[in-house]
Every structure is written in structure tokens, then in C-alpha cells.
Amino acid sequence: MRIKMRIRRFNPEADSKPWWGEYWVDVEESDRVLDALHQVKWYQDGALTLRRSCAHGICGSDAMVINGRNALACKVLMQDVGDVCQVEPLRNMPLIKDLVVDMEPFFAKYRAVLPYLINDNLPASGERYQSQEARARYDDTTKCILCAACTTSCPSFWANEDYIGPAAIVQAHRFIFDDRDDAADLRLRVLNDVDGVWRCRTVFNCVQACPREIDVTRAIGEVKLALLNGLEE
């Protein structure tokens, strides 16, 4: 089938502001939006620039705005885009070129929540035990691939780019609710900041945007409750 791709273009070496490029592609229904973008790049305009790697929704490189919604280009099929497929870079991130944005501010927020297990009491040998229930407690938030689809879909983040954002809260949740970790207080302190978890207004955009189907708003809610009531033992 023949579909029109409408792609937001910006060349920092030539353009003063972004513009729309239009391209026709011949694709199969089962092709991904990523395949259509490759068709444009490989056969029409080699300067079209995007990030991608694994092409099946695991590496998190190709988050972008597709027909108005945040998604991974490798997880949206062309049969689902309608007659015109409109593609833009993630919102409210510093634009580098075409569909490529500067991810450093995003990763800085990720690093701010101390995204690593903190526990100095290791067994002398062998593994620590963890019950299946304790492991299940944080399972959902271990799925995060740091693609930034959630954070950049959030109106609170659009309004205030200092908001730490759903992705960093998801990453904090993964450790706060892991009973092997000893530093929940440190992370909760970070998230209790004026630009922390309270900026969430439960709009649920993050849940819709997450390509890993993480229940992001629930995770944020659990962090809020932990701040209000303390952690359950």
C-alpha cells in the first residue's frame, strides 16, 4: 500500500526552524513505521536522521511522536497509521536534528534517583534469597527501557521541564520496592522535591505512551503513598 509520510525535519546546519517534509512510500501492512522511515532515508533522502537499533521494541532508541502519540517507531505497524503517517521528534526536549533530540537532560534525571541497588550487607557466599512475592512487588517497573516516551508525553513535563518525570519515578520505584535495597529514604527525599513526584496530576498519558505496558501512573501513585504513609513492611 502507498502511504504519505509527513516528517518533521530540521537540519541545524541549514534551517532556522523545523519544517514538514512529505514523502510517499510503498509498504506492506505488516511493516513498521521504522521500515517506512528507512525507506525514506535509504531511497529518497539520506539526510533524514533518526535513532534506531534493535527494531523490535527492546532497545528504546526510536521513541517519537507518531500521529500525535508517543510510541516506538518499531512497534507501530503501517496498517494502523491511516492514510497519512505524521512523525515528529519527542516534545520538550532539545532538538538536535530531524527526529533526534538531546537525551542528556533525561538521563540526568534518571541518575538523580540513584538508580542502582544500595545494600552493603552481602552474604559471605552465594545468593541473597528473595521471596516470589517480594520479587513480584517491583516486577512491572523492571521493564523500563528508558525510551523517554512517558516523560515526554506528560503535560506536567511540557509545562515545567524541571519536573523529574515519570521515567525517573519508575526507575526509583524499581528500587524503593525491592526489599533487598536499603536506600528508599534517599530516593524518596529526591522525589519529595518541588519538582518531584507531586508534579504528577494523574493524566495517564504516560500509561498510554509506555511501549512496555508499564502501569506508570500506578507506580507513581505508590511512590506518593510511600511518601505520605511510609513504606509498608
Binding site: N11, P12, E13, A14, S30, H38, K41, W42, Y43, D45, G46, A47, T49, L50, R51, R52, S53, C54, A55, H56, G57, I58, C59, G60, S61, K75, L77, I96, K97, V100, M103, F107, R111, L114, P115, Y116, L117, I118, N119, L122, S125, G126, E127, R128, Y129, Q130, S131, Q132, R135, Y138, D139, T142, K143, I145, L146, F175, D178, R180, D181, E213
Partner: protein
Amino acid sequence: MIHTHKFETIVVGAGGAGLMAALYASQGSDTAVLTKLYPTRSHTGTAQGGIGAALGNLDEDRAEWHTFDTIKGSDYLADQDAVDIMCQEAVNVIYELEHMGLPFDRTPEGKIAQRPFGGHTSNFGEKPVRRACHAADRTGHMILQTLYQQCIARNVRFFDEFHVLDLLLSADGQATGVVAYEIDTGDLHVFHGKALIFSTGGFGRIWEITSNAHSLTGDGPAIALHKGLPLEDMEFFQFHPTGIYKMGILITEGVRGEGGILRNRDGERFMERYAPNLKDLASRDVVSRAIYLEVRDNKGIDGGRYVHLDATHLGRQVVETKLEDSAEFCRTYLGIDPAVEPMPVQPTAHYAMGGIPTNVDGEVQRNASGAVVPGFYAAGEVACVSVHGANRLGTNSLVDLVVFGKRAGKAAAAYCQQNDWAELPAETWQPVQAMLQRMMDKDGQYNAADLRAEMQSLMMDNVGVFRTEEGIQSALNRVRELQECAQDITVMDKGKRFNTDILEAIELQNLLDLAEVTAASALARQESRGAHSREDFKARDDENWLTHTYASEVDGKINLEYAPVNITIHNPEERTY
């Protein structure tokens, strides 16, 4: 603009091997990690089913059984001393990952959960054993995330989106650094180091149907080859039996580990005929060949080039909790619910058993006699230790990258403490800059995407699961023509900022060079062993071919040498499952 940096250890590639190496190298040396992606985009993250280690949490298990299975799986081409080290050290390295916070699934008692995987047995082949430690079917994702988290905790220095284009050797042949292209700016950076660790991953993009990421273009081995260093056992490339039909996306072997069954168009469980004992859990080369033979016998589904992987009898609970990601791939890309319908699968190019030859400390070998390049290390899929020989067992790629990533990192740190800085060669960035300029200025006849597509289909048809002299030779001839064409590509993007167009052209040249080495190595090996299956030489020939291939580029031609296999534990036997 040219930038210069000085770090004692320079790690190139930030997948599991690179991050593990960086964690250890940074404990004893000033370390930098360069990656052409962001670390969390690395392909380790797509590994699904598990990481093997004889913890014995569910079944009695011993490291020596894991060693035996790996050697047998390798069709006796693996170096047995290296396999023994890997399987012995696997146990403690799994505990180490757990201590780092890796969220393994748990048994009812709270121990690390384990499941069966192809070719893993107890008591030297007696019956399947639960050895693959898993975190749902995203074990690789958890490993990559956990190692990156630890790198953040320890303040490891990263240079993200830096594409390494050249390796610098001193006048007397020591590794002294790399030249990297900063993708965002197009600037060149010279990194001067004492020790250099390559962990750049594989090169499955040589083939049309592959589970590999677009970025797996073999930059590391291609750069080594260009510097006159050999590549080992390149004819052995694993085709994983269960890629999604036409797309190549991996469906984990964990499906069969949990009891999934391969069926042909008649609904027959055909693996019973090919591997009466282990059936669907025979090793990957055996299962991939069986699928090809079923298809050739017109037993493919609807006469097509695929078979069914049936998980419908496992129940929704198993599918949704233990095979969650595979189920999600089927729903997203096929519109199929694997708890209800079987999955259409075909073999997909998956893993390089061959690569840059190293010893058990990750030191890169400069020739078939084992002499090393001082200061140069490699680990993970890019390296050939060799622990996988002619065919890798499922889960052992993850074992390899943590065990040998750690060993290479430790060895590099020790090297830095014992050695002074070697001088950079007279020319550092100049050859790379000249090459980039040539490519930018070229008004060429060819399009990189066309050349890449032709290479991929040639290699799929002629240097895939089954091979013949005629087929390999024809592919080799055409690959050599395509190498010429690739010097005459038009780069459409003429800018400096984020020019992925020129990088794709360079990656294609790397892929073509590795395709040539793969085909040349395959053409010479007149036997069938593991993943290298010659229809004109169907038997394994231990008398003449129990040898490692070392291929290097001499005056523009591929030169092949051979080195003996280290056989210290198990003498080669007939391989049946």
C-alpha cells in the same frame, strides 16, 4: 576539529561485556567507555531466555556437566580449558549479578529460578537439567540494566554516541588508542590509552533474516582485520531456530524450555525424528537444520519456508509470566496470541561464534601461534576465546560476556599498573579524516541500501544453514564485487551534525569485509561441524579439520592459517541428542 583524550583503559562498546569489563577495569585504572549508541540500547538487552550456571537450585547440577554440554554443543571445536574456566566461574558471577541487584525470578524458597535450555543436561547428556537462570524472558535486559546501574554508582566515564573508526597501534605493535567520530558534531577524537578493550558485539546484519539489531555491523572485528590482525572461526555463525517468520525477531528458546513444541504442516513433532532423546531441546544447529529439511521436504506450513512453534498447551499463566516478551512480539507483529495459536518461525541469523581471537584473559592474539598484541583485549560476542566452537549453546553468550568481560577488565587494569604509556603512531586521526573526506566528496554510482540488501540475500541463500562449494564460491565472487561498489557510494547527507548516512556507508563496508572473511573461511573448510554444514562434505572430519581457522587480510587477499584445538577433558565423540 580534533580532540584528544587520555585514559588508561579504553572500552569500546557498552553491552554486557563492555560494561562488565569497565566495572573491573575502572577499579584499577582510569577508564572510559565509548559506544556508538547509548549503553542501554546495546544488544545484550534483547537476550531473553536465561544465563546458564550450575547453581543446582532446582536439579542436581555440576559445573563439569555444563562444561561437557558446552564442549559437545561446540561439536568439539571449543578450547576446553577456556570452557572449563567459563563454566566454573559462571556460578560465582551469577551470585555477583544477584548482589548487584539483578532481579532474577525466584523459586518458592526464594532462590534464583532456573529452567531447561537446549543442549543443557545432567550427568553428561543423560537428561535435560534446569540450569538457565532467568528473569522472565528479559534476562539480557536485566543484565544490561544492572551493569549500567553499577557503572553509574561507580561513576564510570561514558562517551555516548562516539563511533570508533580506527585502532591505533604503536610502532612496535602495542595497542595505544582509538580514533572516534563524535556523532553529534562530526568531530574526530583521539583517545590515547594503555589498554584497549573491544566489546563491540556481533555482525548478524550480513544476513537477510536476522535477530540482530541494525547497529550490529561488526565494526570491531572489521577494524582489527584492517590492521592486519586475524579473525578466528568466522565460518561458524549460529542460526537460531525460532525467529519470527520473515522478520527474524527472536522467539526465545525458553518457549521450548518451558515445554513448547515445533510442528510441521502435518502437526507432527518432527524433532522426535532428528533428536530422539532431547527432541525440541537439542542444540540450535541441529534444530535449525531440521527445520530447513522439513521445509525442503514440503513439510513447511502451507508449503512455506516456516514451521510452527506451539505453546498453546502451556497455559496462559506460563505464557504471560515466563514468556511475556515473546508473547508481546507475537501480538504486536503478527496479531497472534501464542497462548491460543502457534507461532510461525524460521531460522534467523543470530550469533557469531567466531571473532577476534583471544586467550582466557581476553588478550588479543596476533597470529595462529597465540602471540598477543600487548594492551589489546576483546570480550563478548566480538571475541573468539573459543568457548563456543562450532555452535554455541543457548544461555552461554550471557555467561561468556560476564565471565570474560570481567577477566578482560581485570587483566587490563593489571596491565595498566605494570606498563607505561606507549607512544601514539605518527599518524592518528589523519587516515580517518582522509577517508571521511573521500566518502563525502564522492559522487558515486551506488546506493548503500541496495548493496546491503544484495549482500544480505546472497549470504542468506549461499552461506546460511546449508552450504555448498558452488554456492559459497558464487557468493564470495559477488561479495568481492560489492566491496568494490561500496567504495563508490554517494553519501547523500553532506552535513557534519549527526550524519548517520556516512556511518551507514562505513558500516556496510565493514559488513562486506566480514562477509568476505566468513565466505572464504567457509569455502576452505571441507567438512560439516556445528553451524557449518556443507552438503558436499556432510561428515565431521576430525582427522583433517579439528582446527581453528585464522583468517587475515594480506595484500588485499584473505590468508587462512590453522591452529589446533585445546582438547584437555573430553575426546571428540559422535554428537547425537
